[in-house]
């Protein structure tokens, strides 16, 4: 099932778009996961990155390609992406836990320490999560980026929290 049919991305589509991240890179800590598998004319992710870790190039409809060695997991691209399609995943957070950061433009804005329900790409609740960090500096232009702490096994699934 493709994103065009069901409205959410499959693991195979990420692999086909060469946007999957290697286990070796995940082991090193936070990294940007770009989930943008259709050729659309857009490149703010590329210009947002100071480390030359995301490349779109010419033509502008190229799929964004992540250079996982250059990526520091800083998250500057997350709020810049008009499609809200970039996430920061840290599978090396602890032995049992991972963190996932995502843009969240709904009210109420989660607050650090609160417990929310973490959902997958389809909006299904996967697990409880604790809000680890909420960033909304001026540069993010009103797109808060929320980081949640979750059990490690859900790191590839969790991409948001359930709207309250």
């Amino acid at each position: 099932m493709s994103i065009k049919e069901v409205g959410y991305i499959s693991k195979q589509e990420l692999i086909d778009a060469k946007q999957d991240i290697s286990d070796a890179r995940y082991a090193k800590g936070a990294v940007a996961v770009v989930e943008c598998v259709q050729q659309i004319p857009c490149n703010p992710c590329e210009t947002a990155c100071k480390f030359d870790a995301i490349n779109v190039g010419d033509p502008i409809t190229n799929l964004p390609k992540i250079n996982e060695d250059n990526c520091t997991g800083c998250g500057a691209c997350v709020a810049k992406c008009p499609g809200l399609a970039i996430f920061i995943v840290n599978k090396a957070y602890s032995d049992t836990e991972a963190t996932v950061a995502f843009p969240y433009e709904y009210k109420p804005t989660p607050e650090v320490g609160e417990e929310w329900e973490a959902v997958n790409r389809k909006g299904e609740v996967q697990c409880k999560c604790v809000i680890e960090k909420v960033m909304n500096p001026k540069a993010y232009d009103r797109t808060p980026v929320v980081t949640v702490k979750i059990p490690k096994e859900f790191a590839d699934e969790v991409r948001s929290v359930k709207r309250k």
Partner: protein, 374 residues
Amino acid sequence: MLSKDLLVVGAGPAGLATAIQAAKNGVKDITVVDLNMKPGGQLFKQIHKFFGSHEHRAGIRGMDTGAAMLEEAQSLGVDIWLNSACVGFYDDKVACIEQGQPDGTKKIVFMKPKTIAICTGGQENVVRFTGWTTPGVMGAGAAQTMVNVNKVQPGKKIVMLGTGNVGLIVSYQLMQSGCDVVCLVEALPGINGYGVHASKISRAGVPIYTKHTIKEVKGNGPNGRVSEVTIVEIDPKFNHIPGTEKTFEADTVTLAAGLKPVSDLVKLQDIDLVFNGPFGGWVPVHNEKMQSTCKGIYVAGDTTGVEEANTALEEGNVAGVSIAEELGCITAAEADAKRKEIWERLDGLRMGPFGERRAAAKKEVMEQFPGVRA
């Protein structure tokens, strides 16, 4: 009778860009008329960050681009008449304008501009089903205006018909304003808009029913308001498949079934039109300068084929440069160089699986250009 160098009809992205670009290239006496109370066309209800590249102000919210363009137009001395409609043309391109007065009344004004740019945008299509006139059934644009401009919810539980970018984006924005979206319904086998927009809807747990349409809306709510919506699966020929109905409780239905170009004013002039499916209907034939077949009249934006704000803006830039050329403010060589640069960006916006159809449609329209008639 007023005489002007340039009359622009419509203060949306295309019209404002035309006026700004013309003014920047030396055109002096410019008036933009718009029938709305506020300029900016539909830009001010686009609260999301736009796609595109740096040159297109990508990553900037549409409403902020609107504000920036308005400020630029004003700083360049462009005169913007609001609550004012260009209601017709007389011989010799004399425009008849219903000019809004500060006290809310209108005054008829005649204007003879040296050049005219028609940038009247697009208009939403309607879908008819049993109960489509029930209060609570409305255009997606109306719902978007309510939440993003007037800051009031059009309803609490909403069914969206259509999964083009408008359907997807407005669904998301309704949820941002605290409404619940029950589901999205799409007649085609696939989601029509960008997957990244659909992903936001999916992450919020909202189902998208492709190969479905609305069969009936019941208005048993207070004062006859929408109370329930029945959707049904359809076959490849769009016939309802009996027995596949699903009924949802909802108080609002929003229609996002595409737009068509507004070409009323274009039709009043000696301008060739052509029907173009991908562009949504009848559009004025034009060339790469955004000149219509009538000398002195230019066209830009959704009027020339429904696309999106960035392409409208760039077409306006082209029209503005061409108008400056026609009025002798810049040389043909200067105009060509500027247009080349803008066209490169336009071509960029019309690439990829979502843009190719529009690129081909634009080519088809321009290939039919027979030349300018005096």
